[in-house]
Symmetry: C2
DNA sequence: CAAGCAATATGACATGATGTCAATATTATA
DNA sequence: TATAATATTGACATCATGTCATATTGCTTG
């Protein structure tokens, strides 16, 4: 007999789901700090203690709600990079930077909650740090490849350059999330890519 | 009659000072989140309510404690910038970036508390944002100057470039604060400056 | 110099959130 | 149907915050 057909297990799953949906609403409406478990269980029509049966707390709830968004970040980080010229590199890098920044627009609401939560929860902060390191590791490799191909300046420490480049992207991401950017994603991506590629690549 | 000689006003000042010192100890020991008013007033040997006579709460306390550090950031932001060549520009920029990053090492302990507090307190977050905007405004002007002098690429939006450049610096600052950097401040400053200057300046 | 006034300090209290747990309800199994 | 296993519940203990009526201390004036 499958667990899914187990009636009481099913009930448990439904409870969990109700709570997740209520939590999302509350997070979006109140932000991470102001959101409380009480509001969520009320919206979900379940008992207070039930929330702690299914999740460890606010943080845990948000992490589950963010899982698919985080997955998409990981996918962007994995875009392949094998340029044969400086121009080709610029195209790929521009495309990747833009995709990264567009995530901010596409998921603005949840990302706003996420940003707040990074400040409050070490758990969530670690999740974002993992994404960051994934990107940086990938960019480092890309730079090393370009250096080996004679496309990029060899005298630069590729790890340090990678971090710097990602940091620019990340901060613009948060600006867009907060809706504090005063230029289009396209122009931002174009500009920062231009400086980066000219600064790193030869010719 | 001067206020300073007023004995009860003097007592008030001493109380305030005792609290500030105790608060600093508690912040450094516990971090911003875990630090409580109770711990501070205990260390300072004053009553609970007294803390709220002198300050509005934890946030306010930390802001006062950070005032001189913030002042020093503003001073760094005001370094003058009138280069006559790309090389001269690189020297000045490198120097400024290094001074900025060295602040992280010099004030690491308090900056660690500050970083945490940025996540928790809108007030403190705004203080840091003000510093950031000050730097960006200044860098924007510098770039515009370099563009007018024919030293920098005119086709780039100077405000966007300025933000991107500051973001790299800022994120490295926090890495250094957290002691998570794996290169010397000198090497970091040298590397990011090299990419930035080559990317932005002509020749 | 004494009485009254103003500035300071105090801690008990109300509030609001958290996480736990013993008790209860529901479903499965024998 | 009895019993075991699983799921739900809300009352409770805990802890930090900010407020406020009261107490204390020092100044000032008649």
């Amino acid at each position: 007999m499958k667990k899914t057909e187990d009636k009481r297990h099913l009930r448990s799953i439904i409870t969990r789901q109700k709570l997740l949906e209520a939590a999302k609403e509350v997070f979006l409406q109140e932000g991470f700090q102001k959101a409380t478990i009480s509001q969520m269980i009320k919206k979900a029509n379940i008992g207070y203690g039930t929330a702690y049966v299914h999740f460890e707390g606010k943080e845990d709830l948000l992490i589950v709600l963010m899982e698919d968004v985080m997955e998409r970040f990981y996918e962007i980080a994995e875009i392949s990079f094998l340029p044969k010229s400086k121009q080709e590199a610029e195209e790929i890098i521009h495309k990747q930077a833009k995709a990264f920044l567009l995530m901010a627009e596409a998921e603005r609401d949840m990302m706003q909650v996420f940003e707040q939560a990074i400040g409050f929860s070490a758990l969530i902060s670690d999740k974002w740090k993992a994404i960051r390191e994934k990107f940086i590791q990938r960019i480092s490799m890309d730079i090393a490849y370009a250096q080996q191909s004679g496309l990029a300046r060899v005298e630069l420490n590729h790890v340090l350059v990678a971090r710097g480049w990602f940091f620019t992207n990340e901060m613009y991401l948060w600006e867009i999330v907060r809706d504090e950017h005063h230029a289009s994603v396209e122009e931002i991506a174009k500009t920062i890519t231009a400086v980066y590629v000219t600064g790193l690549y030869i010719l």
